[in-house]
């Protein structure tokens, strides 16, 4: 691992205007003060990302449901989920699939976020090509042979494969590593289904003493020998962690996702320093008679995530783990004649964990302005990747560029954890929490200046776009109060907004919630 020095003291003033990224006020992410973790990417991490792959193309519209949009029932007369059974989301006109009861609780508890309409330009409808696009983070019209997680791990572990880190860099529970975990230097993932069986399997010897084979076979031999050495090293380490770790929650049975998450939780608890886990569940390619099959999938997803979150909590590792779903595409807005749905485009992604900035991000799906009966994406999936790498792992901008190959605006999906040193607190101004909060349509924001200064107070949405400038002028010392009024601004959706106060040499940001 590329272990970096933690720079403890960061002068706030010197950071100045640089303390924003992608126009999102930096403070918004910490909700209290600038975090040294975000300013300084050179920090080791104990954070873990768990990716849940929903293979086959999950029907986003029947997962996070626009049940208050009559178009939904017009386009899905047979498979539309009846509004009476949809789980409502407070403050949102979207609802959850009836089986997602525990995910709703997580949302209410502030531990779950949904990003709506995630996709990319020129969507591809092939399972394999679309999966590759998600795994490689490529543009639709370019082909990459390395994956985004693989490239990220290559940034973090530049000495691999010449030098193996002590613990696996990433683990895929299953039989094969995804393309996402392949880097410039090869497969970055350890793959197994059960730690103990895996350990049993690798026992057995082999000899060295080989010489270089100069034909094509030589490359395959090198490859095979490396895999063999890796399995020996890591199987031992994984077994140790599995022996040390424990599952304290009860997981559902006959649930393959739960089986996998159970192992993940145990390994994290057991002290394995692996920061990426990939688990998966299949069956989402619901071309026909999807109501029953999709319900079963939603049930499994719900109960597996619920048990996993309980387990993390009971093991007191809940502040280290973020989960994220992904699927190669959503499905066609209009149902087909077989009570199913064909391949589609944009769909929601779900993120969960104690570190999540909860809420529903993005607009509701626009069921009218479609392209070939398919949704138009609002967020690029690589924005979510960038957000997670930056906020959870404190990836630097240059790392992000190497991983994602171009710049993507982030969304404040994850609350960074490192707290700033107390000495950095400033007292020559104060920005108070808005009241009321949540609000609709009017809320009041107070601030205090101890000396005269240029002052700007602006409201941003979660994508970092300015919603309104409330103040932008020179003010003398004193107490001020401004109102933010959204009446008549129907395009503003429910959700989280930020307001940022900027004075000469300092700034502060707070979060507020609009509920329509």
């Amino acid at each position: 691992m590329k272990r970096r020095d933690f720079i403890k003291t960061v002068a706030i003033g010197s950071a100045g205007a640089a303390l924003t990224f992608n126009s999102i006020p930096m403070k918004a992410l910490g909700l209290n003060s600038v975090t040294s973790k975000l300013i300084n990417p050179f920090i080791d991490t104990d954070k873990v990302l768990v990716i849940i792959e929903m293979l086959g193309g999950n029907d986003g519209l029947n997962t996070i449901i626009p049940y208050q949009d009559s178009q939904y029932y017009v386009k899905r007369p047979v498979i539309g989920i009846p509004s009476s059974t949809v789980l409502n989301i407070p403050g949102s006109t979207m609802g959850l699939h009836p089986s997602l009861t525990e995910l709703k609780n997580l949302l209410i508890d502030g531990k779950l976020a949904v990003v709506q309409n995630v996709g990319y330009p020129n969507p591809n409808f092939s399972h394999f090509r679309a999966t590759d696009i998600w795994h490689t983070a490529s543009d639709s019209n370019s082909t990459l042979t390395t994956g985004w997680l693989g490239r990220y791990l290559h940034e973090e572990y530049p000495n691999f494969p010449n030098q193996n880190p002590p613990d696996p860099m990433s683990i895929q529970i299953g039989t094969n590593a995804d393309l996402s975990l392949i880097s410039q230097v090869g497969n970055m993932a350890l793959t197994f289904q059960d730690p103990n069986q895996f350990y049993q399997l690798v026992q057995g010897g082999t000899y060295g003493g080989y010489e270089r084979v100069k034909t094509l076979a030589g490359d395959e031999l090198n490859f095979t020998r490396k895999v063999s050495a890796d399995s020996l090293q890591y199987a031992t380490r994984v077994k140790q962690a599995a022996d040390n770790g424990q599952n304290l929650a009860t997981y559902p049975t006959n649930n393959k996702l739960a089986d996998q998450l159970k192992i993940v939780s145990k390994l994290i608890d057991g002290g394995l320093n692996t920061r990426l886990y990939v688990v998966s569940m299949g069956g989402f390619d619901t071309h026909s008679n999807q109501l029953t099959s999709h319900q079963s999938l939603m049930n499994q997803l719900n109960s597996a995530i619920s048990a996993f979150m309980q387990d993390l909590q009971l093991n007191n590792i809940n502040n280290r783990v973020v989960g994220m779903t992904m699927s190669e595409f959503g499905r066609r807005v209009n149902e087909n004649g077989s009570a199913g749905t064909d391949h589609g485009t944009a769909a929601p992604m779900i993120l969960f964990g104690d570190l999540i900035n909860e809420g529903i991000y993005g607009n509701n799906p626009d069921l009218v302005n479609l392209v070939n009966n398919n949704l138009v994406h609002q967020y690029d999936f690589r924005q979510i990747y960038a957000s997670v790498l930056k906020q959870l792992f404190a990836a630097s901008d240059s790392e992000l560029l190497n991983v994602l190959l171009s710049q993507f605006n982030t969304l404040p999906l994850i609350i960074p954890q490192a707290q700033p040193p107390q000495s950095q607190q400033r007292s020559d101004f104060a920005l108070s929490q808005n009241f009321p909060n949540p609000f609709n349509p009017v809320t009041r924001i107070n601030y205090t200046l101890k000396k005269s200064s240029n002052v700007s107070l602006k409201v941003y949405d979660v994508s970092g776009k300015i919603v309104q400038t409330l103040t932008d002028s020179f003010k003398s010392a004193g107490e001020y109060s401004v109102t933010f009024d959204v009446s008549g601004r129907s395009q503003l959706s429910s959700g989280i907004y930020f307001y940022k106060l900027k004075t000469d040499g300092f700034e502060d940001t707070k979060r507020m919630t609009l509920i329509k």
Partner: protein, 475 residues
């Protein structure tokens, strides 16, 4: 005019490159499941060209796995799952019993090309019918087979063709036909997918058979690859096969499967294009094309020897076959259950490819889990004991196997001869020394006697060391 690479010219043995055990084992290893020592010796009595012709010879179709294959399908999960397993063991048995023939490996190729997953199709009869469709057309006409697969019941089920009707088109098959089965991604438009689906409407399943119901067919005009007409399923295939790219995409797949698979295929494109020309000139008859390929200088060139990673079935059934292991026919299904489950753990469960793309093969076969699984299986059929310490019920007869070699009484030669049989890469002197020391197990080389009571255990130990070599994973 395209440049002729010359690589497809027939391989003619010479003093510098003789027709020997290594090349014979290479030919059988790529076209069969394991190369038995006796088969190698036999084809060495033929010319390379005659050996290839032999591999393409017809031989009788196998008996069916049971009278149930003609029963009307029933939706009884337990029964169907049971029969699906019977079907699986039946195919493994056909593989086990194969004569010198390319047929079954090519059936597996077709199964992995025109994929259907048993777990989705659910009716074992349909999977059997599809498997026999591949066997009956195994070296036949690619274009014709594409037409037949389009109305194959298992395929109509798997990719929803049965649900594709004029009133509600379903694009599933239309897309995969283009993307995976014929012309390949990037060579058609989304509009072709939609219009193709319309042309493919009308087919459904009636019991064991497919059935065309004209009232379900879309009789309107469709525009497909820029041509317009009231097309049906055969027209769709005809139009796809009138595109030059279709042959290229297919021959690229053949090349990857049977010659070599590299990340960068660009250097192979000239010869792939030649093969594609040959396929088109033969109206998509694959027999002459495959024969040319397997007889070619390219196929017998040193650079590609042992550069293919064996599939789990190839490794496992091949190991059983080339080690001359006798399966006990009174317990055959028990044995094949073990093979099937181990192959599945290593990533290949026949009749159930992971998805419509099939098994990717190549380096996808080898990872930190599958490699130990593969080794552990091979070890178990040498020791006779599984990882969980239960008996396999079948294992190598070490002395009998060694006795098939020319010099079983000479330890040094025996090591070389067995290595030559099981591995196509010349091992380093150091590797051979280690293997020899393993065989001798502390005794002196001049003390080696295959009739000694310790010999079986020593040969087993040596074979175990050999199968753990990375070289054994390749063919």
């Amino acid at each position: 005019m395209k440049e002729d690479t010359g690589l497809l010219a027939p391989f003619i043995p010479s003093i510098s490159r003789p027709w020997n055990k290594k090349l014979a084992a290479h030919l059988l290893g790529r076209t069969m499941f394991g190369a038995k020592e006796s088969d190698i010796n036999y084809i060495l009595t033929l010319t390379p060209g005659e050996a290839v012709d032999l591999l393409f010879q017809n031989y009788p179709l196998p008996d069916s796995p049971g009278s149930w294959v003609t029963e009307i399908p029933v939706y009884n999960n337990n029964l169907n799952n049971f029969r699906m397993n019977m079907l699986r063991y039946w195919w493994l048995k056909v593989v086990y019993e194969q004569p010198v023939s390319f047929r079954e490996k090519m059936v597996l190729f077709w199964h992995n090309h025109f994929t259907s997953e048993g777990v989705t199709v659910r009716i074992p009869q349909h999977m059997y019918i599809q498997n026999n469709l591949f066997r009956n057309n195994v070296f036949g006409n690619f274009k014709n087979l594409s037409k037949l697969v389009t109305k194959d019941p298992a395929m109509l089920y798997y990719l929803d063709g049965r649900l594709n009707t004029v009133s509600s088109p379903n694009e599933n098959y239309s897309r995969e036909l283009l993307e995976l089965f014929t012309i390949g991604i990037g060579n058609y438009t989304e509009n072709d997918v939609r219009e193709g689906a319309r042309a493919l409407t009308g087919w459904t399943i009636n019991g064991l058979n497919s059935l065309f119901v004209s009232s379900r067919h879309d009789n309107g005009m469709k525009t497909y690859f820029g041509q317009t007409g009231n097309y049906n399923d055969d027209d769709v295939v005809n139009i796809i096969f009138s595109q030059n790219q279709t042959a290229v995409t297919f021959m690229k797949k053949i090349y990857k499967n049977f010659i070599n698979q590299r990340e960068d295929m660009s250097s192979a494109m000239p010869v792939i294009n030649e093969l594609a020309d040959l396929l088109r000139n033969n109206n998509y008859e694959i027999l002459p094309v495959l024969k040319t390929l397997f007889k070619s200088q390219l196929f017998f060139s040193e650079n590609i020897i042992s550069s293919v990673i064996k599939s789990p079935i190839d490794l496992m059934m091949g190991s059983i076959r080339q080690l001359n292991i006798d399966l006990d026919y009174s317990n055959l299904n028990t044995h094949l259950t073990y093979v099937s489950s181990q192959s599945s753990s290593a990533g290949q469960f026949v009749f159930d490819p992971p998805n419509v793309q099939g098994w990717l093969g190549y380096r996808d076969w080898i990872n930190t889990l599958s490699l130990p699984t593969r080794n552990s299986f091979c070890e178990s059929i040498i020791s006779g004991t599984k990882k969980d310490l239960t008996p396999t019920g079948f294992s190598v007869n070490p002395v009998a196997y060694a006795m098939t070699m020319p010099h079983p009484q000479d330890a040094v030669k025996l090591v070389d001869e067995i290595c030559e049989h099981l591995i196509r890469i010349t091992l380093s002197p150091k590797q051979r020394e280690q293997l020899l020391l393993t065989l001798l197990d502390g005794s002196e080389v001049y003390d080696w006697d295959i009739n000694e009571p310790e010999a079986p255990a020593r040969i087993k130990k040596f074979l175990k060391a050999l199968i753990y070599l990375a070289e054994y994973q390749l063919t």
